[in-house]
């Protein structure tokens, strides 16, 4: 048993902490320890999840019961948000602000920071067996840009125009606010600054991840010995490094259009009374925006694909099926992700010829995605499956991603997209991939690594409750949205009852809202579980899931420096249930016969493999 051979770490961890004697603010606030930074990302994002979620519930109330008073909080809403003070009925303008803030917060302050910031920070150094990131100080800054950015975005509330209103996609000319005088600080300019800052944060983080993965792997760890989580984070980081700056360029230009009334995205002959110069192209912004934001949707899901692969392997006690194919599929998705951005613009007025090319490349993305799905199924095949909370969430990821991905194929077909573009079909897709995919993946990761993060076990019974409630109400909330979409219900509309052809859909809207409220409150299980277990949870053993990857070689609650022993990697990350061994797992760090990760049959000795990439 591997853990038996390890030194007891209790005392050592203590001497270690005394040794450094960092002041408290260096330990918990401006810490350079990747684990602390990871927790900071986690807490700030969960906080934003609640804000974004609360906004969503406002949206839902309005759609189900247009023009009625919002219960509970209606009477205390600020006067600018409601039709008249105390009425509790939100205005159309505020509705637009709500959906903009909901989308922006969920994407820029919840999923990206969780997927890339939290898991990137936590998993990479531990899973490659090193003490910290390559550049810890840079890492600290990559977190500390996020809270100010969040505050800046929320500060839109104090401007005259309120929050940004142009949707999370913020297409000009609507987002160029030319009717405002120059040098106005509006919700939109703050939005632009804020997103610029989080973008910079993810660039800094990603630069660090790329360097760390390539430079700091433990002795003996080839690239193809890395767990899929690390692979996925690594490739995602590359995408972020290359994609984010393009968005930043677009934001800079849009900022100038807002603040100085330049006209990068404003054409001649806009019939307005204000002064601007013309000559620009509105559709150009969409190109620049989606050049980043399509890759960004993969930034939001690839890390979770890696995590889910690890969780599935661990709890079905089986190697990941087709490890190498999985790596190539991730790389393939990442590459293709950069050449499909136009599928958001089929109806935007770009050249239809481009529509053809983007449609074909988009449909091709379904191929690496299917490879991943089938390999996950293959991983379960002949396993010995334990339904822990982490596993349940991982399975939900797989199944919900299938649904969300399939609805993606509808939209990828440009002629079909003519009708469903900008309807609730898209909203259903968004939430199936982002909530059903990313967020379930994030939950899986949290349940899986919580013991290593906090040294305590989460309460399993509550975890399951959280899962079942979430899974059921999630589907009740978002599946009917497909139907709304097929019925022609446009997205981003304040009151569907204006249209005769939408009159029959009110019942569905109501149903969705009730489910959504339940869904929102189901999240309280998660939050209370996290907070309660930090203090009162059972103490976690070193390797609670009997997993193979290196983070489980670290002490129960690793301190600065992570490991209490030298790490050498002897085999791939997924040697579960090796025949002839008593234990059904075989950690990467445990000495013994070496096995590589990616051969196709049972146990081939390492001598037959040529070590290529960066071996020591």
């Amino acid at each position: 048993m591997s853990t038996a051979t390890l030194p007891s770490t209790e005392t050592e961890a203590h001497t270690h902490e005394h040794h450094h004697e960092l002041p408290w603010y260096r330990k918990y606030v401006f810490s350079t320890d990747h684990k602390v930074i990871s927790k900071q990302f986690m807490l700030s994002s969960l906080f934003f999840l609640f804000i974004g979620g609360a906004f969503a519930l406002f949206i839902r109330w309005q759609l189900a019961y247009p023009g009625t008073k919002i219960p509970l909080v209606g009477s205390i809403l600020p006067a600018t948000w409601v039709t008249e003070p105390g009425s509790g009925i939100i205005t159309p303008e505020f509705y637009a602000q709500l959906l903009t803030m909901h989308g922006s917060i969920m994407i820029f302050f919840v999923v990206i920071p969780l997927a890339l910031g939290m898991f990137g920070n936590f998993c990479i150094p531990l899973m490659i067996g090193t003490d910290d990131m390559a550049l810890p100080r840079l890492n600290m800054w990559s977190f500390w840009l996020v809270p100010p950015a969040g505050l800046i975005m929320m500060a839109g509330f104090f401007t005259e125009t309120g929050y940004a209103t142009a949707g999370w996609t913020s297409y000009p000319p609507l987002s160029a606010s030319i009717q405002l005088p120059t040098f106005t600080i509006s919700g939109q300019t703050l939005w632009l600054i804020s997103v610029f800052l989080v973008g910079f944060s993810s660039i800094m983080g990603s630069v660090n991840y790329v360097t760390t993965v390539l430079n700091k792997r433990a002795k003996g760890m080839k690239l193809f010995d890395m767990p899929l989580t690390v692979w996925a984070l690594f490739i995602t980081a590359i995408m972020a490094v290359l994609g984010t700056p393009v968005l930043a360029a677009g934001l800079a230009m849009l900022f100038m259009d807002n603040f100085l009334h330049t006209s990068f995205f404003l054409p001649d002959n806009l019939v307005t009374n204000s002064k601007y110069f013309g000559g620009g192209q509105p559709v150009l912004f969409q190109h620049v925006f989606w050049f980043y934001s399509h890759p960004a949707v993969y930034i939001m899901i690839l890390p979770l694909m890696g995590i889910v692969s690890d969780v599935l392997a661990t709890f079905s006690r089986k190697p990941v099926y087709g490890y190498k194919a999985m790596v190539f599929a991730i790389a393939g998705i990442a590459f293709l992700g950069f050449i499909v951005w136009g599928h958001h613009m089929f109806q935007s007025g770009m050249n239809p010829l481009l529509g053809t090319t983007f449609m074909l490349s988009t449909i091709v993305i379904a191929v690496p995605s299917s490879i991943k799905v089938f390999n996950w199924l293959g991983t379960l095949w002949r396993g010995n499956i334990k339904f822990t909370s982490a596993m349940l969430n991982a399975l939900a990821f797989v199944s919900m991603f299938i649904i969300g991905g399939l609805s993606g194929v509808f939209m990828a077909s440009a002629p079909v997209d003519i009708y469903i573009h900008d309807t609730y079909f898209i909203v259903a897709h968004i939430h199936y991939v982002l909530f059903g995919g990313s967020l379930f993946g994030i939950f899986a990761g949290i349940y899986y690594w919580y013991p290593k993060m906090f040294g305590k076990m989460l309460n399993e019974a509550w975890g399951r409750k959280h899962f079942y409630w979430t899974f059921v109400t999630f589907n009740l909330t978002f599946f009917p949205m497909h139907i709304l979409g097929v019925g022609g219900h446009m997205r981003r509309i304040y009151d569907p009852n204006v249209y005769d052809f939408l009159k029959g859909l009110g019942g569905i809207n109501e149903f969705i809202t009730i489910a959504a409220i339940t869904l929102g409150f189901s999240q309280l299980f998660l939050i209370s579980n996290i907070l309660w277990s930090m203090k009162f949870g059972k103490k976690a053993p070193r390797n609670p899931w009997h997993a193979n990857t290196l983070e489980w070689a670290a002490p129960e609650h690793p301190g600065h420096g992570n490991f209490d022993m030298d790490i050498t990697v002897y085999r791939g990350p997924y040697e579960f249930s090796v025949p002839g061994r008593e234990l059904d797992y075989w950690p990467q760090w445990e000495q013994g016969e070496a096995i590589s990760a990616h051969h196709n049959t049972v146990a081939v000795p390492i001598e037959n493999e040529t070590r290529t990439f960066g071996a020591h």
């Binding site: 090193t130 490094v241 700056p245 330049t262 990068f264 110069f277 150009l284 420096g561 490991f563 020591h616």
Partner: protein, 209 residues
Amino acid sequence: MSSALNLSHEPVTRVRHGKFAMWAFLASELMFFAGFFGTFIVLRNTNYAAFGEGSAQLSWPLALVNTFILIGSSLTMAMCIYHLERGNNKLFRLFMGLTIMGGFGFLIVKYLEYSSKWEHGLFPGQEHHTLFFSFYFLMTGFHALHVVGGMIPMAYMFFRSYTKRGYKHPGKVETLGLYWHFVDLMWIFIFPALYLMIPYAVAGAGAHH
């Protein structure tokens, strides 16, 4: 205890962390300017005449001077890394000083250019502003910010070299050097794109401003 462990070993790729990260960051920077150039090309093609007029109003001799300044400071930067690596603090200081002066020189010329643009009413919001000048201020502005960003650590290193121990981190200088060459490199594209490639006036596409 962690000091006894060998977790933080030699970089696997044999490229220092800082340098590696800088290259990754430069890839990012390349994409940042790629976004500007991408839109620039499109809008130049659709506002052919206006871009021609705007471009003709810029002062290419000043920009030419600036090009030489930047090339020169790139050279001195390369030199100062060379000398610091060989432990020659004096020559390091000399070349670092020259590089900083290059940066200052560049900014001064830029200031002259900008103030003449201000006088001619070419700033955003002023009457003769056109889309071309939006690009001009966008690209040269971000470039100038990059220059300033490079000069701050340079100044730090420069003043540290006056302390008793001198400045002892050739690695950091090398990393900064990469950045500085990148700034030079971007200028090598910006210079012809804005100042020299004046679109031919094409008949029929009359100017609208």
